[in-house]
């Protein structure tokens, strides 16, 4: 089976255009990261310089991995449920597009803005800390391993959350319900990153490597499950 880049790109371009003009998606994409950085930002900006040595043993930055986990379902939930809701799924599926092309197009369209938002918010957080935190706090907070974890785990978590979001979307006829269910289904990943950020599970190189392997496997499994859930006949014949 050969996949058409042009058809995949058609879906990506259409999706990005729709995201940009969908106010509820833009608001959700702004609010969720804001919720995630406000609390740690307030806490970090309130620290005195004396706290910098304590920060070297904590991993507050890993807490921000919640953003690449929770933002993608907002976008991915529209992938199928949104098309069904506005009656556009049937016209798309009567074109020569393959199921795989459709799903990859949808996933790529959600991947790019999700990763961009996660990196941007992370950079914004670091910039605010560097500018406004007490002396020494920024250098205590920013550790090479945490930065590396943020860079590496963001795309892996985004990919997993996208497949969760699209999988939920294939079984839902309402976008809002799909978004909420997608976020709830992504919470276990947020919980795990929070445990590591709060040092309940001490982060080690081995844990990081193991988590990366597990996430890569989960991303593959997510694709397989989502692909099987995408049943053209059921989606068309049962519009509700």
């Amino acid at each position: 089976m050969t996949m058409s880049r042009r058809r995949i790109w058609a879906i990506v371009r259409k999706e990005i255009r729709e995201y940009r003009r969908n106010r509820s998606i833009l608001v959700a994409m702004a609010i969720l990261p804001a919720i995630f950085i406000i609390e740690p930002l307030v806490a970090v900006l309130g620290l005195t310089a004396a706290a910098s040595s304590t920060l070297r043993h904590e991993h507050v930055l890993l807490y921000l991995l919640g953003i690449p986990t929770l933002v993608p379902p907002v976008l991915a939930a529209t992938a199928v449920a949104g098309e069904r809701q506005q009656g556009t799924l049937e016209p798309v599926l009567t074109t020569p597009i393959r199921r795989e092309e459709f799903l990859i197009g949808k996933a790529l369209a959600a991947f790019v803005p999700s990763v961009a938002v996660a990196y941007l918010v992370f950079a914004l957080f670091l910039a605010l800390v560097a500018l406004f935190a007490a002396p020494g706090i920024a250098s205590g907070l920013v550790q090479g391993s945490d930065l590396l974890a943020q860079v590496l785990f963001t795309p892996l978590l985004v990919t997993w959350s996208i497949w969760v979001g699209i999988a939920v979307s294939t079984r839902s006829s309402d976008v809002r319900v799909a978004q909420q269910l997608g976020i709830v289904a992504s919470l276990p990943a947020v919980f795990v990153t929070a445990l590591i950020a709060l040092n309940v599970v001490p982060p080690t190189l081995g844990l990081g490597a193991g988590a990366a392997v597990v996430l890569i496997l989960l991303d593959g499994v997510g694709w397989q499950i989502t692909s099987r859930l995408f049943d053209r006949e059921r989606l068309i014949a049962n519009p509700g």
């Binding site: 506005q86 016209p91 074109t95």
Partner: protein, 327 residues
């Protein structure tokens, strides 16, 4: 509306039917949606598909468009056997305009169409989008968002989208719903133009006058196929030939006048001075009836062969069907 040129020749065998459906059935659980349907549609034919709500028309179209799998039976679409493996190839050769336009309302008209030129792999997409918009007289609204268009204009955008890929078989589901009379006439002209170019059109409609005007043949479906043929053939199958006779005043003893006339087999009063005569051959019976009425001194106002519309045929077939009354 303007003519839309072909992208390329299909290379398919022109003698093969465009659609060949053989004992096709589709069940959803216990519910039979389409039952043992068999028909063929020739290339370049405009084929009307009529039936009440829930008759299985949309299910048939979706099955032929390879969106859903038949429970039993087989079909060939544009020369390609209907199998799961052939879905992409079939969808490459057809286009479907569903009843609901299904447009991306936040995107402009041209953005909607551009997306579909990419999905169909249309060469030179900008030119093709321009041609399709010209064909449905929407070139001046190309930059408008679809959400700002009226229902009728959205319907036209959906029609333009169906034309983008130059399909061999075009499935149109209620293409003129929501259109004003002028736009309806333009769509009809477009359909006629497409037929002249050899495009096969599978037209699902509730507008019987539309089917009568446009379709070479019609099929009447009510889960199973009730009848199929040219509108004239269906009329001849279902209705005996008849003459409608109107006189200036009631005839005193019509039974005595009409009985025994050549070609007249039965008669009924259709009002105080109007009569329906069942005849074997109107060309023989009409002069005989006229002579008899003149001979008895009656004022003959009109005498004409009774014309049954496609609506009469449809109602006759659907109303006699016990399935229809249960819907």
């Amino acid at each position: 509306m303007h003519e839309l040129g072909p992208i390329s020749s299909s290379g398919a065998n022109a003698r093969d039917p465009a659609l060949s459906v053989d004992h096709l059935s589709k069940r959803f659980g216990d519910r039979v949606a389409v039952d043992d349907v068999t028909f063929t549609v020739g290339r370049g034919e405009v084929f009307g598909f009529l039936g009440p709500n829930g008759a299985g028309k949309t299910t048939t179209v979706r099955t032929l468009a390879s969106l859903i799998t038949p429970t039993s039976g087989s079909a060939t679409i544009a020369g390609i056997p209907l199998t799961p493996e052939n879905g992409v190839e079939i969808r490459r050769r057809i286009a479907v305009m569903p009843e609901a336009p299904g447009l991306y309302l936040r995107l402009s008209v041209v953005e909607n169409l551009e997306c579909f030129t990419d999905l169909y792999g249309v060469p030179d997409p900008s030119e093709r989008v321009g041609q399709a918009l010209e064909a449905v007289s929407l070139a001046d609204r190309a930059r408008d968002t679809c959400g700002s268009l009226s229902k009728g204009l959205r319907q036209r955008v959906a029609l333009a989208r169906a034309l983008l890929s130059d399909p061999e078989v075009l499935f149109l589901d209620e293409p003129t719903v929501g259109l004003d009379p002028v736009a309806t006439r333009e769509v009809h002209a477009l359909i006629v133009g497409l037929r002249e170019r050899g495009v096969t059109i599978f037209l699902t409609t509730h507008r019987l006058e539309e089917a009568e005007r446009l379709c070479d043949r019609v099929a009447i479906l009510n889960t199973s196929l009730r009848s199929i043929g040219r509108p004239n053939e269906l009329r001849a199958q279902l209705f005996s030939k008849a003459l409608t006779v109107r006189t200036g005043a009631p005839i005193p003893e019509p039974g005595r006048v009409f009985a025994g006339l050549g070609g007249v087999t039965d008669w009924n009063a259709d009002g105080p001075s109007s009569y329906i005569l069942t005849v074997t051959d109107p060309a023989v019976a009409a002069p005989a009836v006229a002579r008899a009425l003149v001979a008895m001194g009656a004022d003959l106002v009109t005498i004409a062969e009774t014309q049954h519309s496609l609506e009469d045929v449809y109602l006759e077939l659907v109303e006699e069907d016990p399935e229809a009354s249960r819907r």
